[in-house]
């Protein structure tokens, strides 16, 4: 500090001059020599009553030199010092004083704002803004039109994010004239608003007005250009900024970002540009090692960069460790990410590195290699840089970026809890930071917090509405929440933005496939996800983050789902092709096995339909076998290649199984060789079947689905061996046990079925499905007690009190046990209660509605029952065949035969492939009631052809024959026409019925089926036998009568014939005569041309009369009944055989009498004398009157249980099958996620 003459012009020569009060001298203070204690300066300024701008200059100078405290100290001193007392010292230049004060207050306000915006602590920040506001208010009080204060206020609001208010002040500040800071402020506001064009214009204006402005204005301009896509202009701006200030960190970073953004991926250019960029950022780092933005950019760079290690690795495919050559020393620790060669990345195993061997976390899937280059990622450096950045900034956005970078590192190395904490912090620091929100969403998804994750993703989309990853992930989450439509709209949007998002196509397909109506859309969506036309995708279309391996698994799961969809649509062949694709995906665990493995392992999968899993391997020998021989000769010994059970092939076609190892050039096979060509020995190369694909934990659900397809196509062998292979690998795969059980059951192997179900139960004793299958099996065998126990057990399971299937089954069990009259009421009530129980929970359950209908019918309220059945049929006719039958039963009971017949026939066609014995019985019954005996018998014959051991069918057939015969014999009495052939057949029928009844009366019940009694009363059979036999005698008379009738008819016929012939002859004669007469007449005319017309008439008249007389002659001989009777030929018969007819009708009366007792009556009243299969009627409630009907056909109990319910089981099982499939589908979907 020194004294010097006052010189206002010398301001910028590195010293500040304080005018000495009352003198022309000044005190000079060199800015380089500012006192370390600012109070020294304050003392001088106070003493000299220095102008306010001098105070400000000192303060600013201190600030410039980094002493913000001094800046504040000096300014606060003068503000506090200004009291009404002291102000008078400045009264001489009031205006300068006011301007000075405003500037000081604004400087203090700006400082407070800056401090506040750096604060991470909320209350400190608020304090800062409060202080700033009080300074600005003070400034306003002095002059509320000050541009400076306007700008200060703009900045104040800008920093608090109140862009609109900020904009208001900036605009006002520069309304009158150009205001440089206000222009920049407004540019910043526009930039923040995303109005880059306006911002760019404002920056341009600022530069035009003030070309000497600082580099940072040009950085702002550059950023606007960048945002507007004017990359080269942006680059020019950054370059200019760096020319002005080579150390402007923002310009350096901006320029680096531009360099990176213009680098097209993968090119040489990219490498160069990336290097340039990192050099630029490094320079920025050198300039300001604490610039957080720079640090973050560097951290980001290292996050992505693979840095080569000074070592190589030799490793075999499929191995998890390799030999290191070179120096690794402490470069790596367990868990570090490494890349081997160009494509395979994994983490280092926790075993670490012992100097020579490097352990990996996963198997090496690339081809074996020697001295492969090793790379790693320097995540520690990333964390270090980001942490330093975090410490050196107060800007929450930049802190958030630092947190985000650290979170990425933890995310990538699998430390998800730490990653989540950091993502969370980043989100809090800067809620509008989409990347952090997305990372947070990923973490939340990972821990299953779906709703918070969706919130995070919505936050991402609020900032960047078209972010594809967020759209897809949100779609997936919506799908998880069963929000189908929102999910689909997200996928749709993402795919509009980028049709190459294969994972979005696949996720969309997974949602679509849930609705059968969208199966075709789902299919095409899958195929798009997998590449055009279903070609195997190369994996390049998968978004980053999906490694090649998980991509392969996704594709595998997708192919499996495609297969299932094809299957549902009915394209079995396409389904099979899809499975082929699925299995050919190079997923881990599905690979070729080498010989050492397969020679020992049992080949479980051998069926031709499973050729995906095995292949023929040629053995180093040829083989020959003589036709009809079971011994195969080999050209050379093939020691150890075969053993018992090995599938072998000789030449092109002969496939058989070795019975043991080859010995002395020979081995035995299971079946004889088929004929060779022309009896020559079969000869050719020898093959054996070896594994191609093994069932593993990874592909097990695929294998299961394929097995289901096989089952559907009838390839049961293929399906069964796949299920068994699944279970060998996965003994807890319950669904495979169940399918094996179901297949065994459906091929009649009840014991085997029970065995499989029990095994399933051992694996999962609490699985209600298994218990239900076992109960169902008991029901099929009419083992009601054990069945009941099983279903009761299900109801006791937690949460299954109201299980529909179990309740329904129990209802059916009670309904099937109404035999015992003492428990009838009770059982019927129980059945009704169980059906009600189901409807309580599921009022659309057609099965239980059907059950209730049966109860109603059983109680005799047929109209109600009919209503119920009719409604059930409307709703579920496609799945529930029973309801057709039940409805038909009701129609039958109401004597609406045609309706009943039509329903039974439809049902047979629709549900039973035309061959359900009990349905045949019902249909026969309906025909019987309708007196269509021929149809009735034909139906019974078809049923017997299918089930010849069904005694009830035989009994009904006998009864139908008897009744038909009686009906034919009674025709006469009823005045109906009948033929000789009919009577002959009737006698045949009576004979047949006699034999059948005689046989039936001695038949024993077939006890093996759990049947205790015959389906009919043996004593009734005996009575029928006698009745039929007796009637054969009487029928013989009918036959004679009929024959006689036939003879008489023959006679009449002959007589007619003769008469006809005679008449024809006479006519001929007459014609001849007339012709002659006419000739005569003509001659007479010629001779006597004047013959009178009258005489001609007379002649003609005489001719007509003559004809009439001639014609009546033949009938005339038979009494006086006149010619009118001759037209119907009946009278002769009637008159001629009156006596015989009387005798016959007596017989008929006898016959009818007996027939009434035994069965004919049944034709007229089914309720009283049910000739028809009583059981069916019992089904629907007519049986209450059946006690007194002695001729009941015996209840076909199994049929009864079956009619109402068996189908139900079938349908339910189908549903269970479907459930299996959907379960697996779900599984594969989960796998793919």
């Amino acid at each position: 500090m020194s004294m010097s003459p006052r010189d206002d012009d010398a301001r910028d020569d590195g010293c500040i001059r304080i005018p000495v009060r009352g003198a022309q001298q000044t005190v000079e203070v060199y800015t380089e020599e500012l006192p370390s204690d600012y109070n020294d300066v304050v003392d001088v300024l106070k003493a000299e009553i220095a102008p306010l701008d001098i105070w400000l200059r000192f303060a600013v100078e201190y600030y410039r030199q980094g002493s913000e405290e001094h800046f504040r100290g000096i300014l606060n001193e003068i503000i506090e010092a200004l009291t009404p007392d002291t102000e008078r010292f400045y009264a001489d230049d009031r205006r300068a004083f006011d301007v000075g004060r405003i500037r000081i207050l604004n400087a203090l306000a700006a400082d407070s704002v800056k401090q506040a915006s750096k604060c991470s602590d909320r209350s400190a920040r608020d304090d800062g803004y409060t202080t700033a506001l009080s300074h600005l208010t003070s400034a306003d009080r002095i002059d509320n039109m000050s541009e400076l204060t306007w700008v200060g206020k703009g900045v104040f609001y800008l920093c608090q994010g109140e862009l609109d208010r900020a904009k208001y002040f900036f605009e006002n500040a520069r309304k009158q004239r150009h205001n440089f800071p206000a222009t920049l402020g407004e540019a910043a506001v526009n930039f923040h608003h995303g109005n880059y064009k306006q911002a760019l214009d404002l920056y341009s204006e600022a530069i035009r007005v003030n070309p000497e402005c600082s580099a940072s204005v040009r950085v702002g301009l550059g950023l606007c250009c960048y945002k507007l896509g004017q990359i080269s202009r942006a680059q020019a701006a950054m370059t200019r900024a760096l020319q002005l200030d080579p150390q402007n960190v923002q310009a350096l970073v901006g320029s680096a970002i531009l360099e990176l953004s213009t680098a097209s991926a993968g090119s040489q250019d990219a490498v160069r540009r990336t290097e340039n960029a990192i050099n630029t950022i490094s320079m920025a780092y050198h300039v300001d090692a604490k610039n957080a933005m720079v640090l973050n950019h560097l951290a980001n760079h290292y996050f992505w960069t693979w840095s080569p290690l000074k070592a190589t690795l030799s490793i075999a495919q499929g191995s998890r460790s390799g030999t290191v050559r070179g120096d690794l020393k402490d470069a790596l620790v367990g868990g570090d990410i490494i890349r081997i060669g160009s494509g395979f990345a994994t983490a280092m195993g926790d075993e670490g590195f012992d100097g020579t061997t490097l352990h990996l976390r996963e198997e090496f899937t690339e081809p074996s290699g020697d001295k492969l280059k090793l790379f790693t990622k320097d995540y520690r450096k990333v964390v270090e840089l980001a942490s330093t950045a975090y410490e050196n900034t107060s800007a929450p956005e930049i802190k958030a970026e630092s947190c985000y970078l650290k979170a990425r590192v933890h995310h990538a190395t699998g430390n998800l809890s730490e990653a989540k904490l950091l993502y969370n912090e980043a989100c809090h620091l800067w809620p509008q930071f989409p990347l952090a929100q997305y990372g947070m969403a990923q973490m939340l998804v990972n821990e299953g917090s779906i709703d918070p994750a969706m919130k995070a993703l919505n936050a991402v989309l609020a900032e960047v509405p078209d972010n594809q990853e967020a759209l897809v992930l949100l779609g997936v989450l919506c799908a998880k929440n069963k929000d189908r439509l929102p999910a689909l709209s997200k996928f749709k949007r993402a795919l509009e933005l980028n049709p190459r998002l294969s994972d979005a196509w696949i996720a969309q397909a997974q949602v679509l496939q849930e609705d059968p109506a969208d199966h075709k859309l789902a299919l095409s969506s899958y195929l798009k996800g997998l590449g055009d036309g279903g070609a195997t995708s190369t994996g390049t279309t998968f978004p980053e983050g999906l490694s090649d391996r998980s991509g392969s698994q996704t594709r595998q799961a997708a192919w499996t789902n495609i297969a299932v969809l094809h299957e549902h649509i009915g394209n079995a062949a396409d389904a099979m092709t899809a499975y082929r694709h699925a299995f050919s995906e190079k997923a881990s665990g599905v690979k070729r096995t080498d010989d050492t493995v397969d020679s020992d392992a049992l080949l479980r999968i051998t069926d031709p339909a499973n050729q995906l899993f095995w292949e023929w391997k040629e053995l180093p020998a040829t083989a020959s076998v003589v036709e009809g021989s079971r011994t195969v000769q080999t050209s050379v010994p093939i020691r150890g290649a075969l053993r018992k059970g090995t599938h072998v092939r000789v030449g092109e076609h002969y496939v058989t199984t070795a019975q043991g190892p080859e010995k002395d050039g020979k081995f035995e096979v299971a079946d004889v060789a088929p004929g060779g060509v022309d009896g020559l020995a079969l000869q050719g190369p020898l093959f054996k079947k070896v594994h191609k694909i093994r069932v593993t934990k990874e592909n097990v659900s695929m294998v299961f689905n394929l097995a289901l397809l096989h089952e559907k196509q009838g390839h049961h062998e293929a399906a069964q061996e796949l299920h068994k292979a699944v279970l060998a690998e996965h003994p807890t795969y319950v669904n495979s046990y169940l399918r094996l059980g179901i297949m065994a059951r459906d091929s009649g192997q009840i014991h085997e079925a029970s065995k499989w179900f029990k095994q399933a139960l051992e694996v999962d004793g609490e699985n209600p499905n298994i218990v239900a299958y076992i109960g169902n099996l008991h029901m099929r065998n009419s083992e009601w007690g054990p069945a009941q126990k099983k279903f009761e057990k299900i109801l006791e399971m937690p949460g299954l009190r109201g299980d529909s299937y179990a309740n329904l089954s129990l209802g059916n069990i009670y309904f099937s046990n109404l035999e015992d009259r003492t428990k009838y009421e009770k059982h019927l009530l129980h059945a009704a209660n169980f059906y009600h129980e189901v409807l309580k929970k599921d009022d659309a359950n057609a099965f239980s509605a059907n059950g209730l209908g049966m109860v109603l019918a059983e109680k005799g309220t047929l109209d109600h029952a009919k209503d119920v059945f009719a409604r059930v049929r409307e709703v579920s006719a496609e799945v529930l065949g029973d309801v057709w039958i039940n409805l038909a039963h009701v129609y039958l009971a109401q004597n609406k035969h045609n309706e009943a017949i039509r329903l039974y026939q439809n049902c047979l066609k629709k549900f039973h492939g035309g061959r359900d014995p009990s349905l045949h019985i019902y249909l026969a019954h309906a025909y019987f009631d309708a007196r269509q005996y021929n149809d009735c018998m034909r139906v019974l014959l078809k049923a017997l052809h299918v089930s010849p051991n069904n005694l009830q069918l035989w009994y009904n057939l006998a009864l139908a024959r008897e009744t038909f015969a009686v009906a034919v014999l009674q025709k006469e009495q009823k005045g109906e026409a009948r033929t000789l052939a009919e009577v002959e057949n009737a006698i045949e029928d009576l004979k047949g019925a006699t034999k059948l009844f005689s046989w039936l009366k001695d038949c024993k019940p077939d006890k093996t089926g759990g049947v205790r009694h015959l389906p009919y009363d043996a004593s009734k059979a005996e009575k029928h036998a006698k009745f039929c036999f007796d009637n054969i005698e009487r029928a013989a008379q009918h036959l004679n009568h009929e024959k006689m009738k036939a003879d008489q008819q023959q006679e009449v016929h002959e007589r007619h014939q003769r008469a006809l012939e005679k008449m024809v002859q006479q006519r001929k004669q007459e014609e001849e005569e007339q012709r002659r007469r006419q000739e005569t007449h003509a001659r007479e005319r010629e001779e006597r041309a004047k013959l009178k017309q009258a005489s001609l008439d007379k002649l003609q008249e005489s001719w007509t009369t003559q004809t009439h007389t001639e014609l009546s002659k033949p009938g005339g001989g038979k009494g006086g009944r006149g010619s009118e009777q001759s037209s119907n030929q009946a009278p002769q018969y009637e008159s001629g055989s009156e006596e015989d007819a009387d005798v016959l009708s007596d017989n008929d009366d006898d016959g009818a009498g007996q027939a009434d007792r035994y069965g004919d009556g049944a034709g007229t009243s089914d309720a009283q004398a049910p000739l028809l299969p009583q059981p069916n009627l019992k089904d629907i409630g007519l049986s209450s009157s059946s006690d007194d009907s002695d001729d009941a056909f015996g209840g076909e109990d199994e049929g009864e249980a079956g009619a109402g319910q068996k189908r139900k089981w079938d349908s339910d099982e189908d549903e269970a099958g479907q459930a299996d499939q959907t379960a697996t589908k779900r599984q594969t979907i989960e796998d793919s996620e």
């Binding site: 079946d671 390839h715 014959l941 052809h945 051991n949 059948l996």
Partner: protein, 295 residues
């Protein structure tokens, strides 16, 4: 490969239950419409064999090709002269004492299963019943003679297979594997293998000598109703409730062809021509279809 050639849409008014191909190159068919019919190999009608009262279960030709025998549900066995189409004899062994038929390859014996589970044997010379061979089964659905007539195999309702020694009229061995009705069975041309078609949707193949199950073929999606072995010793054909006819390769042990559009209903019966180059199938909708081996 085989292809569908001749076809008769309304060969019968109702379902055809049985077909056979005679040495004289005639096709025989029997139907629930109570008739048997004789056709030439191009399916031109030759004779209608009338007389059965109830449906015709089974129709078999004698090996000399001039006669045939048929059975119906009322257990009537009728003998026919194929040249004249006349019935030559009728036998009525009593209710359910005859079901489907088999004629021995030397035309000396006729066999049929019964309701009691036994197999009846008749001498064709004089139509005398010569034996009733017992099984413990419920109902014998199908019978077949081995080519050398040494053995007779029967298939039961319970899925059991019995092989009888014909000369001694005694049970020779039992074969297990099915648990549902066996509606058809046949021996391979050389007699070494027995093929059984069952409602369990399988065709089992047994080695007759070793009494072992050699193979079990699946592929039908419903009951297998009929099986016939091709005289070439390599193939066999099946017909099923799933409305298909399938051709199988015994040596390669797989299905080589499926005809799934020839029929619209259950295929009750298939039969090869004596030369093995043709196959006929009879269906529940009354259609007869001939398949021929393509050159």
């Amino acid at each position: 490969m085989y292809r569908a050639t001749h076809r008769s849409e309304n060969a019968h008014e109702e379902g055809i239950w049985s077909v056979a191909w005679t040495e004289a190159d005639n096709i025989l068919s029997g139907s629930v419409d109570e008739r048997a019919r004789v056709w030439c190999s191009e399916l031109a009608p030759v004779h209608s064999l009338n007389g059965h009262r109830l449906g015709v279960l089974s129709v078999r030709a004698f090996n000399h090709g001039k006669e045939a025998v048929s059975s119906s549900i009322d257990s009537c066995i009728r003998f026919w002269d194929l040249e004249s189409g006349e019935q030559t004899a009728v036998e009525e062994p009593g209710p359910v004492e005859a079901w489907t038929l088999a004629v021995s390859t030397d035309d000396k014996l006729l066999a049929s299963g019964t309701q009691k589970g036994s197999v009846n044997l008749w001498a064709l010379d004089g139509h005398k019943k010569v034996a009733s061979m017992e099984t413990r089964d419920k109902f014998v659905m199908s019978v077949a003679f081995s080519p050398d007539n040494k053995y007779l195999a029967s298939g039961g309702l319970d899925g059991l297979v019995n092989i009888f020694d014909v000369e001694q009229a005694k049970l020779h061995q039992k074969l297990e594997g099915h648990a549902m009705p066996i509606r058809s069975l046949c021996f391979s041309a050389d007699g070494s293998l027995l093929f059984t078609a069952s409602d369990d949707m399988r065709v089992n193949v047994y080695d007759v000598k070793n009494t072992s199950l050699v193979a079990s073929f699946t592929g039908h999606t419903s009951w297998v109703l009929s099986v016939d072995c091709c005289p070439d010793g390599r193939h066999f054909a099946t017909g099923g409730s799933d409305q298909t006819v399938k051709i199988w390769d015994m040596a390669a042990k797989e299905c080589v062809h499926t005809f799934d559009s020839a029929h619209n209903n259950q295929v009750w019966s298939v039969a090869y021509s004596p030369a093995g180059d043709k196959l006929v199938s009879g269906c529940d909708d009354g259609v007869l279809q001939v398949f021929e081996k393509a050159a």
